[in-house]
């Protein structure tokens, strides 16, 4: 128990640090800032004068845009991106294709639905933390409907029959909602792109995630220790990846460099998720 307390304290202090360094780190890693850089360049009408030497007065305006991004772990991140890419292409995708051959699509969807349904507490807590009460209510309706009529969450009648859509929120999005920047980019083994904020937030979400084993908690579901939890999560991801093989391949097919590509896609995605 003491170890857990110490861990929580560590995470808390890291968050505080994150809050303070926020503005510094956010300066160039924000995709909406990048978008507005494009917009600003368009507005300046530079499409016509682009070939000319650009007047000095514009240099301040665009100085930020191409500053080197704050990426202190770029060496490790790049290595891990390549490692994951190889892992997906040579291990996960061939296995995923095999898995797809022996399981019907409905089975894979139901596996996904089952995990999604039981992660309801994570979404509820984070919707509430962001004061999104309507969404919290809808999430609760979904949980009730899908757990009963949806046969313990194997099916999703809430969205297919009643049209109540999922409101995915995690603690990383909650922090983002209140203005905490992502911090530096961080690539996780197997799970892929993340950043400092979202990785630390995982530990917070685990506190209410039934798939994560917590000592002394009364509602630990299947896992009886940390590694079983990781195993379960990996299976959940594998199940999900197996139906997204082509999407990943199409995305990376013409890449000039997959490292900045996947980084940009992750950052844009998170930015949109936080804004929603």
């Amino acid at each position: 128990m003491n170890r857990q307390k110490a861990l929580m304290r560590l995470i808390f202090s890291l968050f505080i640090m994150l809050l303070f360094t926020n503005s510094l780190l956010l300066a160039s890693s924000n995709s909406s800032a990048m978008n507005s850089a494009i917009e600003a360049e368009l507005d300046a009408g530079f499409e016509d004068s682009f070939d000319d030497e650009i007047a000095d007065e514009f240099s301040d305006e665009f100085a930020n845009e191409q500053q080197k991004e704050f990426d202190p772990l770029s060496g490790y991140n790049r290595m891990m991106t390549n490692f994951n890419d190889g892992l997906y292409r040579h291990v996960v995708f061939p296995l995923g294709r095999g898995y797809r051959k022996i399981t019907p699509k409905q089975f894979r969807e139901s596996v996904g639905n089952f995990f999604l349904n039981l992660e309801y507490p994570v979404r509820l807590v984070n919707n509430l933390l962001q004061l999104k009460f309507q969404n919290s209510l809808e999430e609760t309706e979904r949980f009730v409907v899908n757990s009963t009529i949806g046969l313990a969450g194997l099916f999703d009648p809430a969205s297919s029959w009643l049209g109540i859509k999922e409101h995915d929120e995690d603690f990383g999005q909650t922090l983002g909602h209140y203005g905490v920047g992502g911090g530096f980019y961080l690539v996780l083994p197997f799970f892929g792109p993340s950043n400092l904020r979202d990785t630390l937030s995982l530990v917070v979400d685990w506190q209410v995630d039934p798939f994560f084993y917590q000592e002394g908690r009364s509602y630990n579901l299947l896992p009886i220790n940390f590694w079983q939890s990781i195993g379960l999560k990996s299976f959940q991801y594998f199940n999900q990846y197996s139906d997204n093989i082509e999407a990943y391949e199409n995305l990376t097919k013409d890449a000039i460099d997959i490292y900045p590509l996947l980084k940009s896609v992750y950052e844009q995605n998170r930015q949109k998720e936080i804004e929603e």
């Binding site: 494009i38 682009f50 191409q66 995708f93 013409d254 460099d257």
Partner: protein, 203 residues
Amino acid sequence: MIQGFRKNIVILFAVMFLVLPLAANDLEDLRTTMESKVEEILKTLKDPKLLQCEQDMKISKLADGMFDYELMAKLSIGKRNWRKFSASQRKEFIDLFVIRMKESYTQKAHLLSDEKVTVGDAVQVKPNRVYLTVLIHGSKNNTDIKYKYYKDRSGKWLIYDVEIAKISILQTYRAQFAEVLSSKSVEELLHELKNPKTKKISS
């Protein structure tokens, strides 16, 4: 006094009738153009008489005149890095980028073949910017493609960026080019574009 007031009203109405419908027509035009293009693409894809390369050519032709490829090329490099390019390098880069864009556009068009596609309303976000969303209805979830238009000097609406499932194509290229140019020369970037190391797609 009253005459002045009346004059103002007349001017106001004149402006309203002249300007607003024009703007509205512009938006409706973009929408109907997109609708007919989508229809043409779907027809081309379903045409059994055409070989794939013929389909690609037709689709690529359909896209001509809708995109401002040159502007997209420039924006993907950004103002600062653009200065590092010589005049001939600029021309070469634009050509390579256009080829890449057209290829990726025709490849993506093939994904539409068995899907239901609807064109949403054009939304004017700024006087010189319009977003038009095209929805692809999949079996489980929908994918939206957002075309971003700007008005060029001659008053023509052209696409300068495309967002697929909310990921901006231009942003992903911008990130990649910036990364490559942070450690490599323009010559090396052009070389990489000329010799794309396409990853294998297994089937």
